[in-house]
C-alpha cells in the first residue's frame, strides 16, 4: 500500500473529544456507527462511546467520568436529573420491546398484542422465561409488567440470567424459553437463533431513550457545550431523520422511532 498521505500541509481544525456513556443496545445495533461520523462532520466532535449497562452508565454519569449519557430508563433518568447530576433531559427516540419465544409456544401467546395477558399465560403454564435480572432498562421494564400483571415470578421456570441482552437471547434460545427483548437487538440477532416474535405493539412495551448532558455546575470538567451540541444534534431534524432511516435498508423497518419534541 501507499505510505505517504496525499497532502498533510493544511492543518485540520483540532478534533474535540466527547465521552458518551450509553447502553449496549445503541452500540450493538450499529446505530451509533451511523450517527457519530455524521456528527463529527457537522461539529468536529469525536464521540467516545462507553457501552455498558444502564445502571453502570448512570453511575458513570454520577461520578462525572463522562460528558453525556444516552440511556433508557425513565425513572432512573428523572432521578438523575432531580439529584442534580444532569440537566436538560431530552427525548430522542424510542424503540419497542417484543416478547419472543419458541415455535412450540406452550403458553399459546403468539399473535397477541396484550403483554400483560401473555405474561400471565407464561406464568400459568410455568413456561420457561429468561429474565435479564441485571437492573437494566429492559429488566426494569420486565419487572414492571410482572408487577402490573400482579405476579411475583419465581420457580424453576423463571431463569434469572444476570446478563446483557445478546447473552440473554442466546440463553433463551438454548433453553427454548420466552424472553423480553428490544426490537433492535432482536432484528440484529434473529438470524442466529430460533426464536420468533410472539407479542408486539402493546403500548406498555414502548421504550423511550433520553439524552442527558452532565450538570455543568456540578461537573465543571465535563464538556457541557459539547454535550449540549450532541443532544441538540440528536434531536435536530437531521439527527432525527437519520435515526428514523436507520435499519430500513437492512431489516426493512426502523429500529428506533425518533420522537424528539
Amino acid at each position: 500500500g501507499k505510505t505517504s498521505e496525499p497532502s498533510k500541509t493544511e492543518t485540520p481544525p483540532p478534533v474535540k473529544e466527547l465521552k458518551l456513556a450509553t447502553t449496549t443496545s445503541t452500540e450493538d445495533s450499529g446505530l451509533l456507527d451511523v450517527l457519530l461520523p455524521e456528527f463529527k462532520k457537522d461539529t468536529n466532535y469525536e464521540v467516545k462511546v462507553i457501552a455498558v449497562g444502564t445502571g453502570q452508565a448512570i453511575e458513570m454519569g454520577e461520578a462525572g467520568d463522562v460528558d453525556v449519557i444516552l440511556v433508557h430508563s425513565r425513572a432512573a433518568e428523572d432521578k438523575f436529573v432531580a439529584d442534580g447530576f444532569g440537566v436538560d433531559r431530552r427525548d430522542v427516540m424510542y424503540n419497542d420491546f417484543l416478547i419472543i419465544g419458541p415455535e412450540a409456544d406452550t403458553a399459546k401467546i403468539k399473535g397477541s398484542a396484550d403483554a400483560l395477558a401473555a405474561f400471565k399465560a407464561i406464568a400459568n403454564q410455568q413456561a420457561a422465561f429468561v429474565s435479564r435480572a441485571d437492573d437494566s432498562g429492559t429488566d426494569k421494564k420486565e419487572k414492571k409488567i410482572w408487577e402490573s400483571a400482579g405476579i411475583k415470578p419465581s420457580g424453576a421456570w423463571y431463569i434469572e440470567a444476570g446478563q446483557g441482552m445478546g447473552d440473554t437471547f442466546r440463553m433463551a434460545d438454548e433453553k427454548q424459553a420466552y424472553t423480553l427483548i428490544d426490537r433492535a437487538t432482536y432484528l440484529a440477532l434473529k438470524d442466529k437463533y430460533n426464536l420468533s416474535i410472539m407479542v408486539e405493539g402493546d403500548k406498555v412495551l414502548f421504550n423511550p431513550y433520553g439524552v442527558i448532558p452532565l450538570n455543568p455546575e456540578k461537573f465543571p470538567q465535563a464538556d457541557y457545550a459539547g454535550a449540549t451540541k450532541f443532544a441538540e444534534w440528536l434531536t435536530s431534524e437531521k439527527g432525527q431523520k437519520m435515526i428514523g432511516e436507520f435499519g430500513k435498508d437492512k431489516y426493512g423497518q426502523s429500529l428506533f422511532i425518533p420522537d424528539a419534541k
Binding site: G55, I159, E160, G162, Q163, D167
Partner: protein
Amino acid sequence: MEIFVQGIKEGVCLIWQLDKEIFQVTALSLQVSLTALILSALIGVPAGAALALKDIPGKRFFLNIIYTLMGLPPVLAGLFVYLLLTYRGPLGQYQLLFTPTAMIIAQILLAAPIICGLTARAVMALNQEVYDTAVTLGASQRQASRAIIREARIGIVAALSTALGRVIAEVGAVMLVGGNIRWSTRVLTTSIVLETRMGNFSTAIAIGIILLTLSFIINTAILMLEKRSFSYDNTIKIT
C-alpha cells in the same frame, strides 16, 4: 476510596448475616474451581512432566503451544465449550450448557495449560542427576518420573496456586457457558460483574473480598500440605 471501606463492611455483613444467596454462590464457586483445579492437575502435571522429559519431535513447538494456551482468553475458551455443548453442537444431546459441569470443562481448558506449562518448566530446572539416581536404584520410567515430580514440588505447587488464581478469578468463560443463572450457575466472579454493571460498586467489592479471602484460605491449605512434607527448610539463607 471510602467505597472500599464500605465494601469491606458490606462483605463482612454478608457473611455475618449468613446470607443464603452469597453462601450458595460461594459454595458453587468453590465446587467448580476446585473440581476444575483437581482435574487439571491430574491432566497437567503428568503431561507437563512428560513434555519436559520425553524426546518427542517438535517438543519446543509443543511447549510453545502450551505457553500460548496459558494465555487463552477465557471468553474464547468459553466460546469453544459453548459451541461444543449448544443443542446444535456435537455434544448438544447431553444438555450440559448452563450447568456447573460446563463451567468446569471451560475452566479446565484454562487451568490445564498453566499447570502443564509450569510443571514442564519446574521439571526442566532439575538436573540429570535426579533421573539417573532414581533409575540406577531400579526405578521404572514411571517411578523415576514420580521422583522427578517430587523433586520439582516447589514449582508444581506454584503451578497449582497460579492455576487456582486463574480459575477462581475468571469470569469470561463461566459467564458464557454457565450463564450466571441465579440459584443455579451464579458464582462469585459473575456476581461481581453483575453488581458492577448495575453500578453497585460497594457490593461488587464486598463479593470480591469474599473471593480473595477464599483464595487466601485455599492457598494457605496448599502451602501447609507442601510444608508438612518437608522437615528441613531449604530456602537460601543470605548473610
